[in-house]
Subunit: 224 residues, 2 copies
DNA sequence: GGTCATTCTTGTATGCTATACAAACAAAGA
DNA sequence: TCTTTGTTTGTATAGCATACAAGAATGACC
């Protein structure tokens, strides 16, 4: 039949194509970048496939070729983004000299420029698209685990004592960050206000005493 | 010109039509009910205007007539729903005999059947549709204020002492509820797990002592 | 170097959806 | 009865995601 039509990914139509050749990897990456930028600003419904393709200097069909659906692209971009965000926040916090500064730097970075809002939309999307849930779940698990590692490393390196196990603190941190982000979005609050609100929320969980100081103390100190 | 076409709401095209006649009020209400049911289960993008109209035995055009846009209908339905949810939760909690039971009943009702997920989507929608933000903001303010009133009433009626002012507790409660709901959705956790998680999160804020008991005590007791 | 399968790009077609719009119809009030 | 206003019924349209077709590039193997 003189070639005939070649079906896209005939072996397993459920999975997105992992670009193998250099050009393909490049295109895929450019699409992800463009999607990040537009989705972050306008949300899932606010950015069309045509917009994204145009921003990446590509064809709309290339999006369906590499990601199957717009929503799959959205989730992949959001997950990649939030992991970058978390890494940047931890790096920023790593320069802190006290437990209080550490927490504040972490919170400020995470809430800055509404980086979480993007990922929150991906989280809520999984209700309608359960097939994309595993991707998001893995990302949340990594957030907890990597935050856990960074937290544990900080504690060990600085000789502090933690008021709760790192995993619990990490889960609390992200749950509260999500809640504050969403409410802040809806109420149109400035990032600075969100930081203060979140610090107030997580401080007692992190072990803030009534005098406003964190209970993180040196292991050889008077704490615990 | 023999009548001619009658433009929809020519005076102010920005506002939805408040039904005045009995039939109109009925139609509007049926549409809201149908929208609540479908949106709650399938989300904004998961339910089409045609679906909702069919469920309400109405015409798609009637939705645009009464609500201008699908998203406005979504927000109105979500806000109405979450206020009902809050009222039901407070009524449920009102039967509690201890401060611990009060908190637990409140949390269980709010997290039951994912009633918050619907409203969370409305909150995040305001980023893309700032014109709908005032509606959501007013609802959040009412949630805080009514929860505040109920909380204050409980405190006064039972002679308990609060560890923080009611407004602060209300804001913390809702922020944490939102965060736990979203993470629970994404991680596919059962409602029971969410209740436990949220109780752990808000307990220290509500004044839980290290022995697990809330610090809410009778005013003539040993507390505070 | 020729053959061929695979990957990727380019382009078109389609079905669905929200919504704008037109006009008939119903219900009051003058 | 006539007019105004609210409501219903019906049609048209533009935008969208995506399915699909087929050429073009790439690389492996003989």
């Amino acid at each position: 039949m003189k070639g005939g039509p070649r079906l896209v990914n005939p072996s397993d139509p459920k999975h997105a194509i992992r670009a193998t050749r250099a050009a393909g990897r490049q295109t895929r990456s450019l699409l992800l970048d463009a999607a990040s930028g537009l989705f972050k600003r306008r949300g899932l419904a606010g950015a069309s496939i045509a917009d994204i393709a145009a921003a990446a200097d590509a064809f709309p069909s290339q999006i369906t070729y590499y990601f199957r659906t717009k929503e799959a692209l959205f989730v992949e971009a959001a997950c990649r983004d939030v992991l970058h965000l978390a890494r940047a926040a931890e790096e920023q916090a790593g320069r802190a000299r006290s437990a209080q500064d550490y927490t504040r730097a972490l919170v400020e970075s995470v809430l800055a420029a509404d980086g979480l809002g993007f990922f929150v939309e991906a989280m809520t999307l999984t209700r309608r698209r359960p097939d994309l849930a595993p991707f998001v779940e893995r990302t949340i698990a990594r957030l907890h685990a990597e935050g856990l590692r960074a937290y544990a490393a900080e504690i060990a390196a600085r000789g502090w004592q933690a008021p709760a196990d790192p995993e619990t603190v990490a889960r609390r941190f992200w749950a509260v960050a999500v809640g504050v982000t969403v409410e802040g979005q809806a109420m149109g609050r400035a990032p600075g206000d969100l930081v203060i609100e979140m610090l107030r929320l997580i401080a007692p969980m992190a072990g803030e005493a009534s005098d406003g100081r964190l209970r993180l103390v040196r292991a050889d100190g008077p704490g615990r």
